[in-house]
Symmetry: C2
Subunit: 245 residues, 2 copies
DNA sequence: AAAGGTCAAGAGCGGTGCTCTCAATTGTTG
DNA sequence: CAACAATTGAGAGCACCGCTCTTGACCTTT
């Protein structure tokens, strides 16, 4: 283990430590560029070393291997996405829950379309042979879903989330146990039926975005993609149970 | 261009042509195995050649390059998925539209969980530097969505598809133009609001499946995944407008 | 100034996609 | 049936990849 995500960044003292941190930052920046232009599977340490102006073996002084660079880029991307989604959600009035949900969805889509390769790294097919180290990636990787869950819970507590009709609210007991654990773990008040719908809203959001980013719609099928996504967001907001908006 | 998806397979005459077709079939089979175990990005022509018991350069007698093998595997996977979905849909009574929709969703999920790497090739992040040749992939690649559209249209014509409430049915004119083109191109009767919801159902289906296949749910978050997906299918059926079932 | 830590460079291993040449095999045809 | 020609497999080779190891130079600290 090297100093990935150094614990609380203790204000690097020696010039050597500062130079080293700067070099690692440069490597991440170059890696991000390669990722954007050539995709995750084509990410090459040798190419990054070339761009850094250094012989290929020297890169291993700063990054243990390709997987560790991938992890750095994963955390980097999760955090940028989390920052942008957080800022977009925070820009909406605290009580406008539907508005916050809409902002979350739009920010996610905007980031994904701007950074398709990085979005693919986070939410596309897993990189073969690479297993993300949970210790470093779960915290940044859960920021968006925690934000969504926070909006849902706040809306429910404010009485602005109406459960779906009874016939669609049946949650089998095995699934209810999962929701119990989630509620307990995150301190939520949202009932099963709304949690179940919220889960579908979550996955559907990423399904809609992935279709666009990964080019699953044909090239000519939809020209009004902004409107299409806005419509989807509205339907998903209704599915989540938002009343106003 | 080599003879990928030979036009209507004119019953290969000469023994040479038959031997050649057999070798290509073996290559696809071996490629499928490598894909399943190591993923698309790690697919290696040299490794396939080794398994075929032949020196690496000989593989180029049958497959122009790595991309062409990828295309063969893409078509192969699309067709297997299309076959299984088609069989599952066909096993339901023709008038049980909701049942057919459910069968489609379950067949899709079953295939995806059984063949995660091939699912990732079709619906995950695009392979960097590879562009699927539309001429060979669009027909097999549209079988599932055509099946879904067919179910929706038949249900609508039978009066068993109820449009969403008016407030959720607003479709902006730019988007309506896209739906007009789709309706004309496929000879559909389904109105805008149902087509819009159907599009979301389509992407949501793949969103839910992708989350499972790509491990986006945490390892411990959901233990009752069958029930979760069944619930999602029920909610999506309601969103699509199915009345019975 | 000496000692220790840190660094870039280079050679090297086995892997990859792909090209080219050459010899052998094989099917077809006179 | 034999000669021809198309097809095929083997091998060498190029440039790239991840990664390891050794060497010599540099810089910081004592």
């Amino acid at each position: 283990m090297s100093d990935v995500a150094a614990s609380a960044e203790p204000t690097l003292r020696t010039p050597r430590e500062r130079a080293r941190a700067q070099t690692i930052a440069d490597i991440v920046r170059l890696g991000r560029e390669h990722l954007a232009t050539h995709g995750a599977a084509a990410l090459s340490l040798r190419a990054v070393a070339r761009d850094l102006g250094v012989v290929s073996s020297a890169i291993y002084r700063y990054v243990a291997n390709r997987d560790e660079l991938l992890t750095l880029l994963l955390v980097d991307a999760y955090n940028e996405l989390g920052d942008e989604v957080g800022a977009a959600v925070g820009a909406e009035p605290e009580q406008d829950y539907a508005g916050r949900f809409r902002a979350l969805g739009l920010a996610l889509r905007t980031w994904a379309l701007r950074e398709p390769a990085r979005y693919g790294l986070l939410f596309g097919s897993p990189v073969p042979g690479y297993q993300a180290p949970a210790g470093q990636t779960t915290t940044p990787g859960t920021r968006v879903i925690y934000s969504l869950v926070g909006i849902l819970d706040a809306a429910y507590r404010a009485g602005e989330l109406t459960p779906p009709p009874a016939r669609a609210a049946v949650v089998p007991s095995a699934l209810a146990a999962d929701f119990d654990a989630i509620r307990a773990g995150l301190g939520l008040a949202v009932p099963d039926s709304l949690l179940a719908n919220g889960t579908l809203v979550w996955t559907s959001l990423f399904g809609a975005v992935s279709f666009e980013v990964f080019g699953q719609y044909g090239a000519d099928t939809f020209s009004a993609r902004d409107e299409l996504f806005a419509h989807h967001l509205a339907v998903l907001a209704a599915m989540a149970g938002f009343t106003g908006g």
